[in-house]
């Protein structure tokens, strides 16, 4: 960097003509960024589509206390996601999702700490923080597995339709919480995000393994930790948006 800033004038005009790296990042990191940009478009499309379809349905007008599931209007999320493991029947709106959010933020922090350790060639610290990151990712996936199970199985009472039949849980065709599209979006958005977490955990494990066998020491740098770190933070970033637009609004 100092070399390129020193050579201002003639050289700086030709910054895009080769020989220097105008963006001052490695090829691999730049490509990871552009991949993440494309992935951001995919997730934006999913979340915006959720908003669009939600707008085509009636909103629930009454108070939160009087809320009941119906096929006629879009459900309010705090009434759908109000359960937590080991606390059957206890009304805990959005608490479990909040815990999941904290888990993911924490594993993002341990990832930056792994990156920081890699920058100073500290093999032991990279291993330690990658293990914590892995643990966070696996914990999040486990929470999501429980959340999906609860969503699919449904509540004790289910939801009784006007024709007298009672619906329990959810499938892609029909669900007890609201219009079919509600469960469809739940499965697609949290599922697509969960798949990203899953692949992130796989990549993190690979990084952990490579750190342990000393691959990065042989290469001479830990840049791969930074690249996979970018992916892992992106997964956290997407969850921040899913949390707001699927669970809070």
């Amino acid at each position: 960097m100092s070399a390129s800033t020193a050579a201002v004038g003639e050289e700086s005009k030709n910054i895009w003509m080769g020989g220097v790296s105008p963006m001052n990042v490695s090829y691999g990191k730049l490509m990871m960024w552009f991949f993440l940009l494309s992935d951001a478009f995919t997730f934006s499309a999913l979340l915006v589509a959720y908003g669009t379809i939600r707008f085509t349905y009636m909103a629930y007008e009454g108070t939160a206390d009087a809320f009941a599931f119906s096929q006629e209007y879009w459900p309010i999320p705090e009434k759908v996601f109000e359960a937590a493991p080991f606390l059957h029947g206890v009304n805990l709106p959005l608490v479990f999702v909040g815990i999941m959010t904290f888990i993911l933020i924490m594993s993002s922090v341990t990832m930056v700490l792994a990156v920081e350790a890699g920058q100073r060639m500290d093999k032991k610290a990279v291993e330690k923080w990658m293990l914590w990151t892995l643990l966070g990712g696996i914990a999040f996936l486990s929470c999501q597995a429980w959340e999906w199970t609860h969503f699919i199985v449904g509540t004790d009472d289910g939801s009784t339709l006007t024709n007298g039949t009672t619906l329990f849980g959810a499938s892609l065709i029909v669900n007890q919480y609201g219009p079919p599209a509600f469960a469809d979006f739940f499965f697609f958005i949290t599922g697509f995000h969960g798949f990203h977490v899953f692949s992130g955990v796989m990549f993190n494990f690979l990084i952990f393994y490579w750190a342990v066998v000393g691959k990065f020491e042989r290469v001479g740098h830990y840049e791969m930790v930074e690249k996979v770190g970018l992916y892992w933070h992106f997964v956290d970033l997407v969850w921040v948006f899913v949390f707001t637009f699927f669970y809070m609004v």
Binding site: N24, A49, T52, S108, V109, H233, V240, M248
Partner: protein, 111 residues
């Protein structure tokens, strides 16, 4: 050549932890945690309405800023790099406007 690399790996210099940087990372983690708690409080205490949604969106963007700028280090990159990533997201703003208007129109046709 090979022996050169071997020599390098046997003399790897481990630097001490950058205390200041690490402290800053934990501070940012704290900020993200606090914002999430605030969102949580707003969800239950604030009356429903446009302002509530605006608050959620605003706080989400603040969280996104910290994650992208600090955790992903984008805030410390070269300007060209920052804009190459941020500018294309204009299309997302277009998508939001276009599709929410679309959703509204479909609603009016249905009901």
């Amino acid at each position: 050549m090979d022996s050169n690399i071997e020599e390098q790996s046997s003399t790897i210099k481990v630097l001490p932890p950058n205390k200041e940087k690490i402290r800053r990372l934990w501070t940012i983690a704290g900020i993200l945690g606090v914002i999430t708690c605030v969102e949580f409080a707003i969800a239950f205490l604030w009356p429903d309405g446009a302002l509530k949604i605006a608050l959620f969106v605003g706080l989400t963007i603040v969280k996104a800023f910290y994650i992208v700028s600090e955790f992903m280090h984008l805030g410390h990159e070269v300007k060209v790099m920052i804009w190459s990533i941020l500018l294309p997201l204009i299309f997302v703003i277009w998508l939001i406007l276009a599709l929410l208007i679309q959703g509204d129109s479909i609603f009016l046709l249905k009901y």
